[in-house]
């Protein structure tokens, strides 16, 4: 080590034991002289795949993530089974018309209504949690191009939501049909696969919307409130609007989603294809807004 002695520094400080490379309190054996040529630390360029892997590490290393995801799964299954059991129990009370339009698929997938809330909360938190704690500065110091983080979070959470909700929907359907007893149907009946895969796809879309909103708003409260407003409040409140405006309601994300997975959607609903396209446009708009704000604003 070439000691930089030439500096005008109080001499008692210059001679301090700078050979110690380990902070005091660390186990002693790791101490190695600082100035010895260090073995190179192998590293590689930042790629989309590595950022995705990094986001997976972050995702799995927060306990709150696991709990929120689990609650989405339990809501999906629990409500589906409850609805199946309840429908079977009160079947005799249904009017003949209600019995005719009864959809065994829709009823056992009803849990999506609350599951989408849990997914929204988690999606927003995956982003705003980083802003609130300051982690985001470390994240963007490692990935200063920023946008790969947006894509990685969106893809990761969409994938996780799709797979977990697909499994939850399948379990909900299977158990729900058992509880519906003679009113239940099988997996090969019309609209069943579309319903199960569709509801998982819708919840994956909700996941992406929530992540994108997190980047736009950067606030947990704001993000969650906006997701609730968009998914739960708007479709209901929209019914109070003048008739001439109500033709817009099917284009809300929740209604467009229902058009995709519901066996008996409401009368003014879009078709499955139009619903998918509408949902896709919502995602595109949200992601573009997120990308735009993310690349323009200071962290």
């Amino acid at each position: 080590m070439s000691a930089p002695d030439a500096r005008a520094v109080p001499s008692d400080e210059v001679t301090l034991p700078r050979q110690r490379s380990v902070l005091p309190g660390a186990p002693a054996p790791a101490a190695r002289p600082v100035a010895q040529p260090r073995p190179a630390v192998p590293s590689h360029p930042v790629t989309a795949r590595r950022v995705l892997a990094s986001e997976w590490v972050k995702f799995r290393s927060l306990r709150s993530t696991a709990w929120t995801l689990l609650s989405a799964v339990l809501l999906m299954i629990g409500i589906g089974w409850l609805a199946g059991w309840g429908s079977n129990d009160s079947w005799a009370d249904l009017s003949p018309q209600e019995q005719a339009t009864f959809s065994p698929v829709d009823i056992t997938l009803a849990g999506f209504y609350l599951a989408q809330l849990a997914v929204s909360v988690l999606g927003v938190l995956l982003v705003t949690g980083e802003y609130a704690t300051g982690m985001v500065r470390a994240t963007f110091a490692a990935v200063p191009r920023r946008l790969p983080v947006l894509w990685a979070k969106a893809v990761l959470f969409a994938g996780v939501s799709f797979l977990s909700m697909l499994a939850a929907a399948a379990v909900s359907f299977a158990g729900g049909q058992q509880l519906l007893d003679e009113h239940g149907i099988g997996i090969h009946d019309a609209g069943v696969v579309r319903g199960i895969v569709g509801v998982a796809g819708y919840l994956a879309a909700v996941a992406v919307l929530a992540v994108a909103l997190g980047f736009v708003l950067r606030s947990t409260a704001g993000g969650v409130a906006t997701m609730c407003g968009l998914l739960l409040v708007a479709p209901t409140l929209g019914l109070l609007l003048p008739k001439s405006w109500q033709h817009l309601l099917p284009y809300l994300p929740s209604n467009a989603g229902a058009a995709v997975f519901s066996a008996h959607p409401s009368a003014d609903s879009l078709g499955a294809v139009a619903g998918s396209v509408t949902l896709g446009l919502w995602l595109l708009a949200a992601l573009l807004a997120a990308a735009w704000t993310l690349s323009r604003r200071d962290v």
Binding site: P4, L23, P42, F140
Partner: protein, 320 residues
């Protein structure tokens, strides 16, 4: 090597960094010195691309930070505020960042050992003390074994042992020919760590000079002279190479000659002296003077006549 050219950052009407140009060279520890709010942290965030400059550019190793394929290999940074998710463990925090660069888990364990967090690596970072949080931040900076270290107030919250460790680490880094930029609002701390210093006040560069020069400036004590013949004595003192400023009609502030030398000179010239006081200038005082001059300069409408504090350091900057 960090190169900043005419960096300016404004937030609304407030100018945080004002036309800042400097070079941070490898092979030495460069101190970034200034009072709180001087723009040190903002400048560091701009170096990392976290904040975009309103105008001007800053490059690290020849390009903007964001254009490096392996950014963590180029700059390891510890930023002032904690940049850690409080619910995640120290190990997973580092692993997540390491994964973006394909850095192994073995290296993560290595830096955790190096900063002495082995025993708490699995605990959530939110429960860490200030000092432990600081160590984790330093581990983050060291992760990819970067060519440049950028540390914002690294000694905050560290115990004396930890502070000495940091100094050793920074010097070791510099001795290997790497670039080190470390900020502090404590002049005394800088004097022990840095070989070169950039002094910032109100977002402007006040001085860019070797630490030894700053110390020499500070060490040269000021002599206060009270005399009814201020004009004549001042002329004579300038004649022997002293720096003289007139503070009152009958008072001079003299830098250079000792009080004795001034007294002798006055005696030779048969000029009466009513007061002769040597004043010791501490490091902190020198630093305060430097930054205060800048504040005054801003507070008044136009340039202040004879406000040496704001012009002299600029010429020092050109020389450095």
């Amino acid at each position: 090597m960090i190169l900043a050219e005419h960096l300016t950052k404004t937030y609304g009407t407030k100018t945080a960094v004002d036309d800042l140009s400097f070079t941070v060279r490898p092979g030495q520890v460069t101190g970034f010195l200034g009072p709180n709010g001087a723009g040190k942290s903002t400048t560091m965030r701009m170096i990392l691309g976290l904040d975009a400059p309103t105008s001007g550019v800053v490059t690290v190793a020849g390009r903007p930070y964001r254009e490096h394929p392996e950014p963590l290999k180029v700059v390891g940074a510890l930023l002032e505020a904690r940049a850690i998710h409080t619910s995640r463990s120290a190990y997973n925090h580092l692993l997540a960042l390491a994964t973006t660069h394909g850095i192994s888990a073995a290296r993560v364990h290595q830096v955790i050992d190096q900063v002495g967090l082995t025993e708490v690596a699995g605990k959530r970072a939110g429960g860490f003390s200030l000092g432990m949080g600081q160590r984790l931040g330093i581990a983050t900076a060291l992760l990819a074994d970067p060519d440049t270290l950028l540390l914002d107030e690294p000694v905050n919250g560290l115990d004396p042992e930890g502070i000495r460790w940091i100094r050793g680490l920074l010097r070791g880094f510099a001795a290997e020919g790497r670039t080190v930029l470390v900020s502090s609002h404590l002049m005394s701390e800088m004097a022990l760590t840095a070989e070169h210093v950039l002094v910032l006040g109100r977002g402007r560069l006040l001085a860019d000079l070797p630490m030894s020069e700053l110390l020499a400036q500070a060490a040269s004590d000021v002599v206060l002279v009270r005399t009814p013949h201020a004009d004549e004595l001042a002329r004579a003192l300038v004649g022997i190479g002293a720096t003289v400023s007139r503070t009152e009609v009958d008072a001079l502030e003299v830098t250079g000659p000792t009080a004795g030398r001034i007294g002798d000179l006055a005696c030779d010239l048969r000029l009466s002296v009513h007061g002769l006081v040597a004043k010791h200038v501490s490091l902190e005082e020198a630093f305060m003077d430097m930054t205060r001059a800048d504040v005054e300069f801003h507070a008044r409408a136009g340039p202040v006549p004879g406000s040496d504090g704001s012009t002299a350091p600029a010429s020092a900057g050109n020389a450095a």
